[in-house]
Symmetry: C2
Subunit: 211 residues, 2 copies
C-alpha cells in the first residue's frame, strides 16, 4: 500500500509516519520509484504498535526505540523483555533523595521477600511515590503497600498466563509490550469503576467520616 493508505488504516497522519521513518521506528518501505514507496501489512502492524505506545503509554520516541529493539532481538527472552519494557514505561524522578521513603520501600520489598534491585525503575518509582505521599502529609499511605502487593501479585499471574499462552515467541514479546502499556491503563480504569462500586455498596453517598 501507499503511505496515504497506511495513514488512513492506522489513523496516523502522513507527516507523523514520515517522522517515524526518519527516526527508524518504522522500517523503510520498498521503493517503487525515486519518490514513492510501498508498505506491507507488517508496516501497518508496527505502526499501530508504535501509536499504542506513544498515545496510550505516553512513551517518548527514545523509549519506543528501546522497546522495538527488544522485539527485534532474536536472543531476547520474555523475562528480559519484561524488564526493558517496564524501564521504558516507568519514568520516575531520578532526583528524589528522600531517605525515609527509600527505607520504607526497602522494608516493603524485604517484607514481601521480593528480589528487586534498588536501581531498578520499579523500585525508584515506588520511592518517588512514597516521597510524594510524605510530602503531601499522607503518612499512612505506606501502610497500603502490603495489601496492594497481594492484588498486584494476582495481576502479575494473569499477565504471565496471558503471554505464556501465546503461540509464538514474537507474539508473546509483543504481548509483554501491550500488556504493560494497556494493562496499566486497563487497571487504572477498572480501579476507578471498582472504587465507585465498592463505595456505592458500602455507604449511602451522604455518609462520611464526619456524619
Amino acid at each position: 500500500m501507499r503511505i496515504a493508505e497506511l495513514s488512513r488504516r492506522s489513523g496516523v497522519p502522513v507527516p507523523t509516519i514520515k517522522y517515524y521513518l526518519r527516526e527508524g521506528l518504522l522500517p523503510a518501505g520498498e521503493l517503487t520509484s525515486p519518490n514513492q514507496a510501498r508498505y506491507a501489512d507488517a508496516h501497518l502492524h508496527r505502526l499501530r504498535l508504535v501509536r499504542a505506545m506513544v498515545e496510550m503509554g505516553g512513551l517518548s520516541i527514545a523509549a519506543v526505540r528501546d522497546v522495538l529493539g527488544t522485539l527485534d532481538d532474536p536472543e531476547m527472552s520474555l523475562h528480559k523483555a519484561m524488564g526493558t519494557v517496564t524501564a521504558a514505561v516507568a519514568s520516575p524522578d531520578p532526583d528524589v533523595t528522600d531517605e525515609v521513603a527509600h527505607e520504607q520501600a526497602l522494608a516493603f520489598v524485604e517484607r514481601q521477600g521480593w528480589e528487586c534491585a534498588q536501581d531498578s525503575f520499579a523500585f525508584t518509582a515506588l520511592v518517588d511515590v512514597l516521597a510524594t505521599a510524605r510530602e503531601v502529609g499522607q503518612r499512612r499511605f505506606v501502610d497500603l503497600l502490603d495489601d496492594y502487593a497481594r492484588a498486584c501479585l494476582q495481576l502479575a499471574e494473569v499477565d504471565l498466563d496471558y503471554v505464556l499462552r501465546m503461540d509464538s515467541k514474537d507474539e508473546a514479546l509483543e504481548g509483554v509490550v501491550v500488556g504493560t502499556v494497556l494493562g496499566d491503563a486497563a487497571v487504572a480504569a477498572l480501579r476507578a469503576m471498582a472504587r465507585h462500586e465498592v463505595s456505592e455498596r458500602r455507604q449511602d453517598p451522604e455518609a462520611d467520616p464526619e456524619g
Copy 2:
C-alpha cells in the same frame, strides 16, 4: 513565610508559584507591602498537593482546578469526590468509536454487575484500551478483564478503608485525591515488581513459549 521560602520548602520554582497564584490554584498571600506577601503553612500544604497532581498524576491546570474545587466544597461527599477526581485523572480519547470495543466493555460491566454509566470517564477509558488492543492485534486481551476486576475490587476495598479511617472529612477528601493519583503510580510500580517476581519464580529466564 516569603515566596522564596515557600519555593524552597515546596521545591516549586518561584515563577511556577506565581503562575499557580495567577491561575487561582493557590490562594493569594497576605499582603505586607504593595510588593510583598506572606504565606502560611496552608499555602505550603496546598502547593505540595498541586505539585503531586501535576508531576505524579500528570493533571492539566484545568483538571487540578476541578479537583481543588472539590476539596473546597463543604457540601461534597466522599462518594461524589471520588467521581470528580477520577474524571480529572483519566483522560481517555473521546474520538474512539470502536463498536466492538464498546460492546466488549458493556458486556464486561454487565457480567460484573457493576453500575457504570457509559458516559463515565472510566468506561470511556476502558473502551479506549480495548479498541487499542484490537487495533494492535491483541484480541485476547479482553479475556483478562474479569481476572483484573477481581484484583481491582480488592484494591478498591483497600482504598476505601484508607479514606474512611481518616479523622476528618477534609483529610478524607484529600486522601481520595492522593489515593487516586499516588495509587495509580504505586500500583504500576508494584505490578512491575510483581511481574518480575512471578516470572522469576515460574521459569528459568531461557524458557519461552518456543523453547
